[in-house]
């Protein structure tokens, strides 16, 4: 646990790095905080929040169906993956809203296109230079204080645009990413030089991980799903500071589980545990500001309902969205359930809730952005899409 003194020192240093002026320009109503976590690679929503109550669940998922005994039962037949255990308390306290069967309105199974569209807040590729979160900042940004903060190596598209934002990354940080490392084996397999070198290198790395317990303190953040936690925790501290940023975006990688995604244990479980630990750490770091906070965790699309030939899942359609924070009217699931018996193109979970209606609802009720701006500027190609009501505590 950081002492208050450490914490103040840390934030002062961080602001110097990010070039944030110290002066206070209150612009966000009630000093509210809003965080977007982009889960890149397409999170398997059916594994994160399994619909155990759906009569077709076990048969549709086959080998990757979760054992109900090991899941954390919620309401309406839904449960939490054991990897998300750290989020249970937030749900019970009414600070976590879960939107199963949500999607972003577009229909593409390309990561590149889908991530662009998710970040631009659009359904077709018409403009790819600025993100919806940056456009949402326009009415909030008053004075020269930078309200928006990108936490990580680069500013994600969702936060790029006309409004200047700050960015910050812990020194020596290395984002862990199991998707990338999983691709290296096949990439090098047939190369006479890189193939054997890579095989030997990973073998000796696995060996030392086994011997040393797999928790070697590498650079801050380290490798794998555990790298999200320090980033999220730092983001929380920065947002909590009285003169800090109010809006932040950060990435978490490693969701593209085509191969061996696992069930109660394994790669996807570990990534979910990393996500939950990070969100929990961010909440802790927020301190009293948590009551004024909303975090949205969203992914570019879901994954196939059925298991594929390599014990993983392929690119699908709907996934799950988390809305979490002290300001959230949570402790429940939101939206309809389309069922696992009527699938999109006979393979994917259908979208029941357009994610942008959730985003609109949060932006309107939490940040006070008016409906006209949301329709014309923030999500310009969905003017008719109504904001979701009642997501935020009065």
């Amino acid at each position: 646990m950081t002492t208050r003194r450490d914490f103040l020192t840390m934030t002062a240093g961080a602001f110097a790095l990010a070039g944030l002026p110290g002066a206070v320009f209150a612009a966000v109503p009630g000093d509210r905080r809003f965080v977007v976590v982009l889960l890149r690679g397409a999170m398997d929503g059916l594994a994160a929040v399994p619909p155990l109550g759906d009569a077709h669940y076990a048969s549709a998922r086959g080998a990757i169906a979760l054992n109900p005994e090991s899941c954390i039962a919620l309401d309406q037949g839904f449960a939490l993956n054991p990897g998300l255990k750290a989020l249970e308390a937030y749900y019970r306290r009414g600070e976590l809203l879960i939107v199963p069967a949500s999607g972003n309105g577009y229909r593409t199974r390309s990561h590149f296109d889908a991530q662009d569209l998710m970040e631009c807040g659009l359904v077709s590729k018409t403009r790819e230079t600025d993100g919806w979160l940056n456009r949402a900042l326009t009415p909030l940004q008053k004075g020269d204080r930078r309200l928006g903060l990108a936490v990580g190596s680069a500013v994600p598209l969702v936060l790029r645009g006309a409004v200047p934002v700050a960015s910050w990354e812990p020194a020596g940080f290395r984002a862990g990413n199991s998707d990338f490392t999983a691709s290296l084996g096949p990439l090098y397999a047939h190369d006479p030089l890189f193939g054997p070198a890579y095989a030997l290198g990973t073998k000796s790395q696995d060996f030392s991980n086994t011997v040393l317990g797999g928790d070697q303190p590498k650079a801050q953040g380290g490798y794998g799903p555990k790298s999200f936690e320090p980033l999220a925790s730092a983001a929380g501290k920065l947002l909590a500071a009285p003169d800090g940023p109010r809006i932040a975006a950060l990435d978490m990688l490693g969701w593209d589980t085509h191969v061996g995604q696992g069930t109660e244990t394994g790669r996807l479980h570990d990534n979910l545990a990393g996500l939950a630990a990070g969100l929990d750490a961010m909440a802790q770091a927020m301190g009293p500001a948590w009551s004024q906070t909303v975090i949205i965790a969203v992914t570019e699309f879901g994954r196939t309902v059925a298991v594929n030939g390599t014990n993983g899942t392929d690119h699908g359609t709907a996934s799950v969205m988390f809305v979490m924070g002290g300001a959230v009217k949570g402790g429940r699931l939101y939206g309809d359930w389309p069922g696992l018996d009527r699938l999109e193109e006979n393979r994917d979970l259908r979208v029941a809730t357009d994610s942008r209606s959730i985003l609109k609802g949060v932006l309107r009720d939490h940040l006070g952005i008016d409906a006209a701006t949301l329709s014309s500027k923030v999500f310009p190609d969905a003017p008719g899409l109504l904001p979701a009501n009642g997501l935020i505590r009065a």
Binding site: R40, G41, A42, H111, F112, Q115, G152, S153, A154, V155, R160, R174, A175, N177, D179, F180, T181, S183, L184, P186, L187, Y188, A189, H190, D191, L193, F194, A197, Y198, L200, G201, T202, K203, S204, Q205, L253, G254, W255, D256, H258
Partner: protein
């Protein structure tokens, strides 16, 4: 362009450059050899004029040696770090933006041939100046001129201890009993000219060391402080015999004549031709190609433009794609060229340090090694992959990796790489995989 022409343009861009920038392949067009040859007529890259010349930096180093205070050392160290970063940024920018990337490749080849390394901290402030002053002006000029410029340069004279070498029978030598230091003479014969098998003996090393006595740097109190200066009072008197030839006592001119003869020696032609062919063609280059290049070196009196042109004309260059592994610095430059993104200096310098090729920190006077096995092993392949991810994570605006891979590899793109990039979980992952791919790791 038809596929074969694209393929040849791909080879040209990587073998006689670093990697194509957007549009480069179209510019190379259907005449890749012509494109490569034409670069040899281009003026050398203009480096930023605010980079400090060696003389004031040498003078500052001499001054700092007298100032022993902690404050003075700290100030000097900060200054040296700033100069080092500015030099690295400038030479990285030059390579990334050059329209004549072959000249930048040649600059690095020759800079490595005449290695000066900041492992000897005394040269930290002017190692970058060494490359700009002694190497760049001569990469398409005469070898003998580059040799003289490199050996006379303060960075070389300090790095290989020439500044403390004193003729035992010189006025200074007889007065204080100090003597020869053979370091520069030995490396000049072994590394810079004849090569280790070039047929010289220990007597030749000593003779060259005696010939070179007096070559040093003007001291702090001199008006030309920090510049090359010949000191007759430390020069070994009498005639010397080097490689069977007698050099009569002629002071500074002895050394100039000896260097001239070393440059013209057939062993030097063979040694240089072998190194160039290894660098540009293959780890184990075809012996007949080496022979042809050596003959051009010999017959043109070391005209490096003609010598480089001879490499470009070798068929082997065009028939052995991806024969060479990119050393870390070339990997960084290539990644920056194809993405148009040059990361800031602290990241690039740290990266190259972690990948074991920090510029001007070669482990020995032999410079960086130049074969695949030197760079690729079980540990280093993981470090490289890590770095590819770190680079991609910093791209401010990542381009579409599928289109980029098509554009820079043409039909040389392997199915495995195309598939990995297409299936990548994000643009950044796709770009990291592109940079990590065996075809991008090679040239």
């Amino acid at each position: 362009m038809v596929a074969a022409a694209v393929t040849n343009a791909v080879f040209a861009a990587s073998r006689f450059g670093f990697a194509p920038r957007p549009g480069d392949l179209a510019a190379i067009g259907s005449d890749p050899r012509g494109w490569a040859l034409h670069q040899l007529d281009r003026p050398s890259t203009t480096m930023p004029s605010d980079l400090p010349a060696s003389a004031p930096m040498v003078a500052a180093m001499l001054q700092a040696r007298e100032d022993k205070s902690d404050e003075g050392k700290k100030t000097e160290n900060q200054r040296l770090r700033a100069v080092y970063l500015a030099e690295q940024t400038a030479r990285l920018d030059a390579a990334v933006t050059s329209d004549a990337p072959l000249l930048e490749r040649l600059t690095r080849f020759w800079s490595n041939h005449f290695t000066v390394s900041c492992i000897r901290p005394v040269i930290r402030g002017f190692a970058g100046a060494f490359e700009r002053e002694a190497i760049r002006p001569h990469v398409t000029g005469r070898f003998a001129d580059m040799l003289l410029a490199a050996e006379r340069h303060p960075a070389m004279l300090f790095y290989l201890d020439q500044v403390i070498s004193i003729g035992p029978n010189s006025r200074a030598g007889t007065r204080n009993g100090k003597g020869l230091n053979e370091n520069l003479a030995r490396e000049m014969l072994e590394l810079h000219t004849l090569g280790v098998d070039g047929g010289y003996s220990q007597n030749d090393v000593e003779a060259l060391a005696r010939i070179l006595t007096g070559w040093s740097i003007a001291r702090l109190r001199d008006p030309d402080a920090g510049m090359f200066r010949f000191y007759p009072q430390t020069h070994e008197p009498g005639s010397k015999t080097l490689l069977g030839k007698t050099y009569s006592d002629a002071g500074y001119d002895e050394g100039v004549a000896a260097l001239h003869d070393l440059a013209a020696h057939p062993a030097t032609a063979r040694h240089i031709a072998t190194k160039l062919a290894r660098h540009f063609i293959a780890d184990v280059p075809p012996p007949d190609a080496v022979q042809r290049i050596a003959r051009v070196f010999q017959s043109t009196s070391g005209d490096l433009k003609q010598v480089t042109a001879a490499i470009i004309r070798e068929d082997a260059v065009w028939k052995a794609p991806y024969a060479k592994v990119r050393p870390p610095e070339e990997l960084l430059i290539a990644a920056s060229r194809v993405t148009g993104f040059v990361p800031p200096a602290p990241f690039t310098v740290t990266s190259l340090h972690n990948l074991s090729q920090q510029p001007f920190f070669a482990p020995s006077p032999a410079g960086w090694p130049d074969q695949a096995g030197d760079w690729i092993g079980p540990e280093s392949v993981l470090h490289r992959a890590d770095w590819c991810q770190a680079f991609a994570a910093r791209l401010p605006n990542p381009p579409d990796p599928v289109a980029l891979a098509d554009g820079i590899f043409g039909e040389t793109l392997r199915d495995e790489t195309a598939q990995a990039i297409r299936r990548a979980a994000s643009r950044r992952d796709g770009l990291a995989l592109l940079i990590a791919s065996p075809e991008f790791q090679r040239r």
